[in-house]
């Protein structure tokens, strides 16, 4: 583990805030994620031994209470209207981001965050994604889904300073994802070029509190292994700021795994079972409390909480959980 960070540091270029961020992204009304600016502290907890669950103020997590709202809450689903144009702008930009308390990572990002913004369309919408490369390396966007070969983000390498517009009808419905497909692939993905891509079915899904969770890891010392694991880019963020949800309402999580270096990642929920729709493209679901995803795998989770209170969720690889991939739902009436 003890290695110098030379490789990644040489790549470092603080291009930072040189790019216009997010144009086409519809302003997302905060349906859910009523994140409490004052994190709760359950009574009777004991941190002195260091082995009680970490929650609230004591958790070493970066960022402020609402920093991840945009990544957690997807833009709203729109009714089915074939041929409607949905436009997004993604700008690749090199940026140092804080991935764990006090630890910065020289990331390659779409629109300044890792993961990148949530792209959402309804099936049969015409998706138009304007991609500008303001980074220091050639990049692309490769969408999962059905589209022509010349829109696949494999052959159309976009050099620094250049741009490209991806255009195709959104299909099939389900939880998709996008990521850079420039080589070396491993480097371009672990540096942070990926995000969630939701295609809604023609028949709207039942109303729910909708959340997006992209599982990932960060290799901050360049040794080919992750030092930190997160959902949505900040270690232990949802342990410090639990996600407040209502017992009366279904919680729908669009879950994807973009962890590099490790073969699998997982999601486990405490005290409840949920429906898991693999890839979210059919009505088939599995009733479980733990799902495992390979890199690039994704699905939709629907939870109807039985009890109120604080319920932990985390990777069921203990190491990932203890290196940042752990959080809480605060279920209220």
């Amino acid at each position: 583990m003890k290695k110098s960070g030379l490789t990644r540091r040489q790549m470092l270029l603080a291009a930072a805030a040189s790019a216009p961020i997010v144009a086409g992204l519809a302003a997302a009304p905060s349906l859910v994620a009523d994140t409490d600016p004052d994190p709760p502290m359950p009574a009777g907890h004991d941190h002195a031994g260091g082995h009680a669950a970490m929650i609230g103020h004591e958790v070493p997590a970066p960022g402020g209470p609402r920093d991840l709202d945009k990544l957690l809450t997807p833009p709203p689903a729109l009714p089915h209207k074939p041929g409607r144009v949905r436009e997004y702008q993604l700008v690749a930009v090199d940026r140092k981001i804080e991935v764990a308390k006090g630890v910065t990572f020289p990331a390659w990002t779409y629109n300044g965050t890792v993961p990148g913004p949530v792209i959402r369309a309804t099936v049969d919408d015409l998706l138009r994604v304007h991609f500008v490369n303001n980074g220091s390396h050639p990049h692309t966007i490769h969408f999962h889904g059905i589209h022509p070969a010349n829109m696949d983000g494999v052959f159309e390498i976009v050099r620094p300073g250049e741009s490209f517009t991806y255009e195709f009808p959104a299909k099939p419905w389900g939880m998709q994802l996008y990521h850079c497909h420039a080589t070396p692939l491993k480097k371009h993905i672990h540096k942070g070029l990926y995000g969630a891509f939701i295609i809604d079915p023609p028949e709207p899904r039942p109303p729910a509190q909708e959340l997006v969770m992209v599982m990932n890891g960060f290799d901050t010392d360049g040794d080919g292994g992750n030092n930190f694991y997160t959902v949505n880019g900040k270690a232990f963020y949802y342990a410090k700021y639990p996600i407040r949800v209502r017992r009366s309402q279904t919680v729908r999580i669009y879950l994807a795994n973009l962890t590099e270096f490790d073969l699998l990642n997982s999601f486990h929920l405490h005290g409840e079972f949920f429906r898991y729709y693999r890839t979210g493209s059919t009505d088939h679901f599995e009733y479980t409390d733990t799902v495992v995803q390979a890199q690039g795998e994704r699905g939709i989770i629907e939870i109807d909480f039985t009890h109120t209170g604080l319920f932990m969720f985390h990777a069921h690889q203990s190491e990932f959980a203890e290196l940042g991939w752990m959080g809480f739902f605060e279920v209220v009436d």
């Binding site: 764990a100 630890v103 910065t104 030092n227 930190f228 270690a235 940042g324």
Partner: protein, 404 residues
């Protein structure tokens, strides 16, 4: 008159010439200032400086009930910030006793509440704000002794067992050495030289090994050389004082109690390092203090007492008090070393101690050799002397296997 003014002029001239000696220094300061003022423009002519390594120097990991303490130092010129701490690859909340951002060679103590498992291997990691993680593997977590009455006494007993007692026992050979003929006395003196040579090499290896683990900014081999030279020269000066005090002409070889005292000082400095090594290895859980190890050190060090006794075999009788003092001089430092090693982390001091032991042993070997050359029939090449020297090295090697 004329002569006087010429002399004055010459003096004035000499003063002027001496002032000129300042010119290189003034120029150096000026050029250095200009270089610093130019910033990084020189570097940019050739390329780019590599990024800072951002690795910590984890100096010590202590295990207290429900708590782990990590002493870290910044070994690099650039500032280094402690951002995240892991135990067995799990992020842990921590508090700091010291600064979060460490300047060059500054240290801080990280305190982590943690229920560690006794005797299990454990690893601790300290991650800098730039994401570089320094990991230290601890082979087995054992409680680190604190500086209370019990442990102070414990280290003192260890020091007594491996230092004072064996040396004192070795000194008891003195009566049997009396009256042996000059060739056999020479053999025993050569044996002393042999064992001291062994100790010098042993301490040198230890000093070089310890310095390799130090941040390069702290001197490394230069520090070892400094310790060796300083102790060698200091002991040479002391030996000269002994020899002129003893009525002999300055430069005459030391004899009797004076030479025995020199041997005792040399051995004492070695035992200081030995005690420090035992104390610190035990404190950080790297050494099991079994009875076999203690016995090994005792057998090993009995020979040292013989080495001190040999120079006193001829000449006047030596009082019991003097013998006790010699045993304390040669063995007592083991106690001091054990305390320092057990309670204080000072890796620089440890390197210096061993280096000083090297210089001291070398100096005493020189003294003993001069004595043997002058006093023994057949000089340095006689069979008894050669055999005695070899025997000294072999005995130390064989008894050293007991503690290896």
């Amino acid at each position: 008159m004329a002569n006087g003014s010429v002399a004055a002029e010459r003096r004035g001239g000499a003063a002027r010439w001496r002032l000129l000696a300042l010119v290189p220094i003034v120029l150096l300061v000026g050029i250095a200032a200009a270089f610093v003022a130019s910033g990084s423009s020189l570097v940019s002519l050739i390329g780019q400086n590599p990024p800072a390594r951002d690795e910590f120097d984890i100096r010590r990991v202590e295990f207290k009930p429900g708590e782990i303490k990590i002493l870290v130092r910044n070994p690099q010129p650039e500032d280094l910030t402690i951002a995240s701490v892991t135990v067995d690859d799990a992020i842990m909340p921590f508090t700091l006793d010291g600064p979060t951002t460490l300047k060059r060679l500054r240290s801080s103590t990280i305190v982590i509440p943690f229920q560690w498992v006794e005797d299990d291997p454990i690893s601790v990691g300290v991650t800098s704000s730039s994401g570089i993680e320094t990991v230290k593997e601890v082979p087995a977590a054992v409680p680190t002794p604190g500086a209370d009455g019990g442990s102070i006494l414990g280290y003192a007993i260890i020091g007594t067992l491996v230092g004072i007692i064996p040396v004192a026992l070795g000194l008891l050979w003195l009566p049997s050495l009396r009256g042996v003929d000059a060739r056999w006395l020479g053999a025993f003196m050569a044996l002393t030289a042999g064992l001291l040579t062994f100790l010098a090499i042993d301490a040198l290896a230890e000093a070089l090994e310890l310095q390799a683990a130090l941040p390069s900014a702290l001197g490394g081999t230069g520090l070892v050389l400094l310790g060796v030279v300083a102790s060698y020269l200091t002991l040479t000066w002391i030996a000269r004082r002994f020899s002129s005090k003893g009525g002999g002409s300055a430069g005459a070889p030391l004899t009797g109690v004076a030479l025995a005292t020199m041997v005792a000082i040399g051995i004492g400095l070695h035992n200081l390092g030995e005690g420090l090594a035992i104390g610190s290895s035990f404190a950080i859980g790297e050494l099991a203090l079994g009875s076999f190890l203690i016995l090994g050190f005792m057998v090993h060090n009995v020979t040292e007492g013989l080495g001190i006794a040999a120079p006193m075999a001829e000449g006047t009788k030596v009082s019991f008090r003097r013998l006790a003092t010699l045993a304390l001089v040669a063995g007592g430092p083991a106690i001091l070393g054990a305390w320092i090693g057990g309670f204080i982390v000072n890796d620089v001091l440890a390197v210096l101690f061993f280096a000083v032991a090297v210089g001291a042993a070398m100096q005493v070997v020189v003294e003993v050799t001069r004595y043997v050359a002058k006093r023994t029939p057949g000089g340095l090449t006689g069979g008894h002397v050669v055999g005695g020297f070899l025997a000294g090295v072999v005995v130390m090697y064989l008894t050293g296997l007991l503690v290896g």
